[in-house]
């Protein structure tokens, strides 16, 4: 009996020892920041494009121009992986005067050549202080018109910005929830 008891206790001990291997697994916030050069480009590329892609971001050196930014999202197949629930665009103003910049989070389907295309737009505007001042525009679940939304409702989110002269999109950020891999 003594041996059986010891064997049983050893079994329980081994079981406990193996259990913590999964104890740290959880769904956690993931944030990805990037130089805007990676994810933003002029809406109309070509000779009229006045966007300069620098290592500190994308600067418009001409008259106000539309810029389209996409966001890199990761799906890992694990439970709890969500669509993006926040996107951010950061600006730096290289001009001598403060300037406002507007960006639109655009969600929709094209509908093809003859189909019905539908889109929902949420536009935000911020003032960016002069001479190197910075500011950010951010969209969150509150900007999803679906009641009780827990994300932005789209796997591949995109933003258009109207970039004033000498305004730089320095950084883009995207946030989502996913397994922490532990």
């Amino acid at each position: 009996m003594n041996t059986m008891l010891k064997t049983g206790l050893l079994t329980v001990g081994l079981g406990i020892a193996f259990c913590p291997a999964d104890a740290g697994a959880a769904v956690a916030t993931h944030l990805r920041y990037s130089n805007a050069v990676n994810y933003c480009q002029a809406f109309t590329p070509g000779p009229s494009n006045t966007i300069r892609n620098r290592v500190i971001g994308s600067e418009n050196i001409g008259t106000p121009i539309a810029v389209a930014c996409n966001f890199h999202h990761v799906l890992n197949g694990a439970a709890g992986n969500t669509n993006p629930n926040q996107v951010q665009v950061f600006f730096t103003n290289g001009a001598a005067a403060a300037a406002s910049v507007s960006c639109t989070l655009l969600t929709g389907t094209s509908g093809g050549i003859s189909g019905t295309g539908v889109q929902y737009a949420v536009t935000k505007t911020v003032s960016v202080p002069a001479s190197g001042g910075a500011n950010v525009i951010s969209w969150s679940t509150a900007d999803n018109p679906t009641a009780g939304a827990t994300d932005l409702g789209n796997i591949m989110v995109g933003v258009n910005c109207n970039l004033p002269t000498n305004m730089t999109i320095s950084t883009t950020g995207v946030r989502w929830m996913a397994d922490n891999g532990v």
């Binding site: 064997t7 259990c19 769904v27 709890g80 539908v118 536009t123 009641a147 929830m177």
Partner: protein, 195 residues
């Protein structure tokens, strides 16, 4: 009590231990095998969260990771459905609000003029996306815009740039693009132009 070690209980215990160890080891290998989560440095959970969202909460399963191109197309189709619901929800909110509003004439007149002026811009002209016609009808906070274009491309280009131009005047907007009987393209927008 017999002081000698009984054989049967020892064998049974050993089997149980081997079973537990085997299952645990298999489970650990499964977590590091193909398809398991293995965050690269830039995908690692951030320590710079910008708000107070819980750092480790269980949430319902969402999109599965597509393994093959066919899976991705299926995921894209499901995503389009989800996006359509979102757009529909947005439109319904604005439409309901618009239909329930009276007309604030002074504000509506000013807003309609502002929205019309913003329907053209140097960049819109540069890519030849000017509307053939443009009508804005505002009430107390929501405006209904109708615009026609010679082609789908012109309509899509215009809408992209118009939301940027008119965004400060109309923060939330829902649009629908349809084809007219003469082949031209109609864009209808409900926009929230007053908070």
């Amino acid at each position: 009590m017999n002081s000698k070690t009984p054989v049967v209980p020892m064998v049974a215990g050993a089997i149980v231990i081997a079973l537990i160890a085997g299952v645990s080891g298999w489970a650990m290998r499964a977590r590091t095998g193909p398809g398991a989560v293995s965050p690269a440095a830039d995908d690692a959970p951030s320590t710079h969260a910008v708000d107070s969202t819980p750092r480790a909460t269980r949430t319902p399963p969402q999109p599965a990771a597509p393994a093959m191109a066919e899976d991705f197309l299926a995921m894209q189709a499901a995503n389009d459905e989800s996006v359509s619901k979102l757009v529909h929800a947005g439109k319904q909110k604005l439409l309901t609000r618009y239909e329930g509003e009276r007309v604030d004439s002074a504000w509506a007149t000013r807003k309609q003029q502002a929205l019309e002026q913003l329907s053209v811009s140097p960049q819109i002209e540069q890519i030849n996306a000017q509307p053939l016609s443009f009508v804005a009808t505002c009430r107390t906070s929501v405006c209904l815009i109708g615009a026609d274009f010679p082609s789908r491309v012109a309509a899509d280009d215009w809408f992209t740039l118009y939301t940027l131009n008119a965004g400060p005047e109309m923060t939330n907007a829902s649009s629908e693009r349809t084809i007219n009987s003469d082949g031209s393209v109609h864009v209808q927008i409900y926009g929230l132009a007053r908070q």
